[in-house]
């Protein structure tokens, strides 16, 4: 299969939870916890999907997303964005920046799994 997800998140407990969920769905889970070099890590890791937290040390998830969309090869990469801020303007901002799916913490595990499946299905169909 070789499905790879890159989880960019700085909260250890949340990393552990998501890793647990996705590993059981046969995803290879790589993690990174800093915004500064996130785009480089994504380019290097070539994941099929990225789960991106908004409040990251170094560089906000919004900026990472914008920079990522500037890179041609990453323009269509499915990105699932998670935020703990949960204000309406954040969702709008994320959609403008080219997010694939936007979710507010706390999420239900089922929601995350469904989102990951959908995004992956869309990506493989097109």
């Amino acid at each position: 299969m070789g499905r790879k997800v890159l989880l960019i998140e700085d909260e250890p407990n949340i990393i552990e939870a998501i890793r647990f969920l996705l590993t059981r769905e046969a995803w290879e889970v790589e993690t990174h916890s800093d915004g500064t070099d996130a785009v480089e890590v994504i380019r290097a890791g070539k994941p099929d999907l990225v789960i991106l937290d908004v409040m990251l040390p170094g560089k906000s998830g919004m900026d990472v997303l914008r920079d990522l969309r500037e890179v041609p090869e990453l323009a269509k990469l499915p990105v699932l964005m998670l935020t703990a801020r949960g204000q309406v303007r954040d969702r709008e901002e994320a959609e403008k920046a080219g997010v694939s799916r936007f979710m507010t913490k706390p999420f239900s595990n089922q929601e995350v799994l469904m989102a990951v499946r959908d995004l992956h299905a869309q990506a493989t169909q097109s």
Partner: protein, 899 residues
């Protein structure tokens, strides 16, 4: 026979009439219905104050004593009027354009506004006029005494009457001359009253003359025969005296303060001079017409030894013509009073403007004062001056013995006042004339006049011996034979020497001295007055000037307002266009309108420049400068106001920025709170769902996930505690539990609380002796701060062997407690942030919400102290300061162990 009482009653009635005329004339002038008041006729008649009691009574006496020589007194002014008309016009033009108030003002103004020169001219005038006033006193007294002598029962004595006459004239002059204070020193009322008096004296003299020629003498031919028979026809003409007296009369006509007053200051229109040039000589001719017949008939009819000075009065009386005598008396009275009023007015103006006011102003430190105040002082000084001048005249009358002929006294006054002539004429026509020259000539002439004429004329001052031999026997200094020139008539001698030396010294000193810039400016304005002042009337002009006025007004008032104003004015005048005729009334209104914007002096100067009725004088410019200064001050006040406003605006902007910032901070805070709450919830939800939904979890996994859930729940609890704490502290609703205690005990409690349950507690070093300090504070809150700081050191100190040093000392009334660890500390750029909410500097490995230091700071502020990061230490360092409130009792605790 007319009783004295009736005479006095008539006098009072006559004075009341004069007052009435003056009052009505002033009222009419104020209402602007004064066209006939400003007629050339009134102007000409007002000039007749030249004819005083001396002329009225004295001319007959003069003719009786010296034949036709009296003609010279009339000849001088006639020559000036006819032959020097253009010179008078220049004088009037300058007087108007420079707004001169007196002859002293004119001389001073011409020579660079010299105050000293003004004082000299004023003193000269006062001293010269004194004999003249005495003359009027004498003539009125003599005429009164004629009636007293005829009415022995009246109880009036000749000796005291002169005093009462002086006092009466003083009161009369004060009432007339200082009723009101006019800015331009114009007195329409007085001038009109004087014109009336001129008519009265002419009619009186003519009536007496007609009575004498046709009533007494029986016709013209008989009168001529009588004249031929009398000595008058045979007296020979002394060319020296004739020339001298004609010259003196001419000079006096120009220089006398009262003549200057009516001729220049009271002049409304310089074209009046054209009428006066023939009308005034005609008046003089009429006044002199019957002088010789009255003198000749008087000499023949009146008994030997009668005073010829009083023939005008005594001839009708001797014939039982009481009514005519009364008219003659009123004529003489008019002559004397009109002269005294105007002379006193002119002199008091000079004295108050040039002597009293400068002294008064400088004695008050030169500060600007209220106008009402000044007004009072001016009026008072003028009244006192009039009183003093009359007193001087009275004393002169006494000193001179009261016996000299009227004509002799008059000539002394003429010669004195003539000393002004060189400076005056030189100033009008010679730009090279200087202040020094004017002063030197004036003083020279004045001293010589004093020495050769005035003092010898006052019999009691110079002895016969002094006159005959000279001072200390120096014969060439004899007052009436200077430099050894003898054989001349004393009057001719005095006038010759004083005038020649005056003019010479004036010219030479002028040539040798340099004029000041102001003098040069004024000199040019005086000499070339016709070059830069066009119209003969005040505000006159053509429509072309209206355009200029319009342009100027637009600049000052704004285009719309100026056009509206001009249109209204044009409609008032019934003109079709937008431009009104520049009538005086319109110009006055325009000036008022403009002065609202630019100040009165500037408005006057501006209109003056365009209309050209008067050139802009230095005083105008100074006034303009004053106004500019005021406006500058006003605009600087506006500037201050505007800077105040902009400061307020900046403060508002700053306040707004601050509000925006606070609003932004609030958003950021809510984001932070949301993040801090949602993050643990996310973990809790995720792991609880894993536990619920996942089959076949290993027991160790179950325990691990349950532990995570538990820890995150605790983290949430702590966060909520801190948030509530902070909110309570920040809202200020916290109630402090102030108790006294010992610092060491608080620290003991804090250290043990912070480090309990830690696997590898950091080492805390303390100095127990320094901690033995009494406290009055909320000890639990203080301990909370200490616990927070110790926990932070525990969490963040990155040293291999972490040590926390707690130092306590007291400084400036504050208790200072430092917490210094041996870690790497906090980077300089983030030190300021650590006290902000949720400001975790490094990755939080300890699970705090980032509110701890913010809470600490709030607590310390509540306790009246502070907590801040201490720079320049090796490791992380915090300093807590607390006001030391020493308990009254000494700390009781002895020594204690560190832990």
């Amino acid at each position: 026979m007319t009783s004295v009482n009736l005479l006095i009653l008539v006098c009072i009635g006559y004075v009341a009439l004069l007052f009435g005329v003056a009052f009505i004339a002033d009222r009419m002038a104020a209402r602007g219905r004064s066209t006939w008041l400003r007629s050339p006729l009134v102007y000409t008649l007002s000039l007749s104050i030249y004819c005083t009691a001396w002329t009225f009574y004295g001319a007959v006496g003069y003719a009786a004593r010296s034949g036709l020589e009296f003609i010279t007194i009339y000849l001088g002014p006639t020559l000036v009027m006819v032959g020097w008309w253009w010179g008078l016009r220049k004088l009037v033009r300058i007087g108007r354009s420079q707004r001169v108030t007196s002859i002293a003002d004119l001389i001073s103004s011409r020579y660079g506004k010299s105050t000293f020169l003004a004082i000299c001219v004023t003193l000269l005038a006062v001293i010269s006029i004194t004999p003249y006033i005495a003359l009027q006193l004498q003539s009125i007294t003599l005429s009164f005494e004629i009636f007293f002598a005829a009415d022995p029962g009246s109880g009036f004595s000749a000796g005291s009457s002169v005093f009462w006459v002086a006092a009466g004239l003083a009161v009369f002059a004060i009432l007339f001359g200082t009723r009101n204070l006019d800015v331009n020193e114009r007195h329409h009322g007085v001038v009109t009253a004087i014109a009336l008096e001129a008519v009265v004296k002419l009619v009186a003299l003519l009536a007496v003359g007609i009575f004498v020629v046709w009533g007494l003498s029986g016709g013209v031919s008989q009168t001529m025969a009588r004249i031929d028979a009398s000595e008058i026809g045979t007296w020979q003409v002394d060319a020296g005296r004739w020339t001298t007296i004609t010259f003196l009369a001419a000079a006096a006509f120009v220089c006398l303060p009262r003549m200057f007053q009516v001729m220049v200051v009271e002049n409304d229109d310089e074209r009046h001079l054209r009428t006066a040039a023939w009308a005034f000589p005609t008046y003089l001719l009429l006044m002199s017409l019957f002088v010789v017949p009255i003198a000749a008939v008087g000499l023949e009819i009146m008994p030997e030894g009668s005073n010829p000075d009083l023939f005008v009065l005594t001839l009708p009386l001797s014939q039982g013509q009481d009514g005519l005598a009364m008219l003659a008396f009123l004529g003489g009275f008019s002559s004397a009073t009109s002269m005294v009023i105007v002379a006193a007015m002119a002199l008091s103006t000079m004295v108050s403007n040039h002597i009293v006011m400068p002294i008064w102003l400088s004695s008050r430190g030169g500060g600007a004062s209220q106008s009402g105040d000044v007004r009072k002082v001016v009026l008072m000084s003028r009244r006192l001056t009039i009183g003093a001048i009359m007193a001087l005249g009275y004393f002169y009358y006494h000193l001179s013995g009261g016996g000299a002929a009227l004509a002799a006294i008059g000539l002394i006054a003429f010669a004195g006042i003539a000393q002004i002539l060189p400076a005056l004429v030189g100033g009008l026509f010679w730009r090279g004339a200087t202040r020094t020259g004017a002063l030197a000539g004036l003083v020279t002439g004045f001293v010589l006049w004093l020495y050769t004429m005035l003092l010898p004329g006052m019999g009691n001052i110079m002895s016969e011996e002094f006159l005959a031999l000279g001072p200390f026997g120096i014969s060439w200094l004899r007052p009436q034979a200077l430099f050894g020139i003898t054989g001349l008539d004393p009057m001719v001698h005095s006038v010759m020497w004083s005038m020649i030396l005056n003019a010479t010294v004036f010219s030479v000193a002028s040539l040798l001295s340099f004029p000041s810039p102001l003098e040069r400016l004024q000199g040019a304005q005086f000499v070339n007055v016709f070059d830069h002042s066009a119209g003969p009337r005040g505000w006159t002009g053509s429509v072309a000037q209206s355009e200029d006025l319009m342009i100027m007004s637009q600049r000052i008032l704004g285009a719309n307002e100026a056009q509206a104003f001009f249109q209204v004015e044009a409609r008032k005048q019934g003109a079709d266009g937008h431009l009104p005729e520049p009538t005086p009334a319109f110009l006055e209104r325009l000036e008022r309108e403009l002065s609202g914007s630019v100040g009165a002096a500037t408005a006057h100067a501006m209109i003056g420049q365009i209309v050209g009725g008067s050139s802009v004088s230095v005083e105008d410019l100074l006034a303009v400068a004053d106004e500019s200064a005021q406006m500058l001050e006003y605009s600087s006040q506006l500037e201050i106001k505007s800077s105040e406003l902009s400061r307020t605006a900046r403060q508002l902007r700053e306040a707004n920025d601050k509000l925006m910032q606070i609003s932004h901070q609030k958003d950021a805070f809510l984001d932070q709170v949301s993040h801090e709450l949602r993050t643990p919830m996310t973990s809790i939800r995720a792991f609880s769902e894993i536990l619920r939904d996942t089959d076949g979890l290993k027991p160790s996994e179950k325990v691990r996930y349950a532990t995570i859930i538990n820890n995150e729940a605790l983290r949430l609890t702590r966060l909520l505690d801190d948030l509530l704490d902070l909110s309570v502290l920040e809202s200020g609703q916290v109630s402090l539990d102030m108790r006294s205690g010992i610092l060491a005990e608080v620290l003991d409690h804090a250290v043990s609380s912070a480090l309990s349950g830690e696997a590898a507690p950091l080492q805390v070093r303390r100095l127990p002796a320094s901690e033995n300090v009494a406290l009055l504070s909320d000890l639990d809150r203080l301990a909370q701060v200490f616990i927070n700081l110790i926990s932070n050191a525990q969490k963040y100190c990155d040293a291999f062997d972490p040590v926390l040093q707690i130092d306590v000392h007291q400084r400036d009334g504050f208790l200072v407690i430092d917490f210094i660890d041996n870690g790497s500390g906090i980077a300089a750029d983030t030190q300021a942030l650590v006290f902000e909410k949720f400001a975790r500097v490094s990755n939080d490995k300890a699970g705090g919400a980032g509110l701890g230091l913010a809470v600490c700071r709030e607590i310390m502020h509540r306790l009246g102290g502070d907590v801040r990061y201490l720079e320049g230490q090796a490791g992380g360092a915090f300093r807590v300061t607390l006001p030391s409130r020493q308990s009254s009792h000494q700390p009781s605790r002895q020594t204690t162990a560190a832990k």
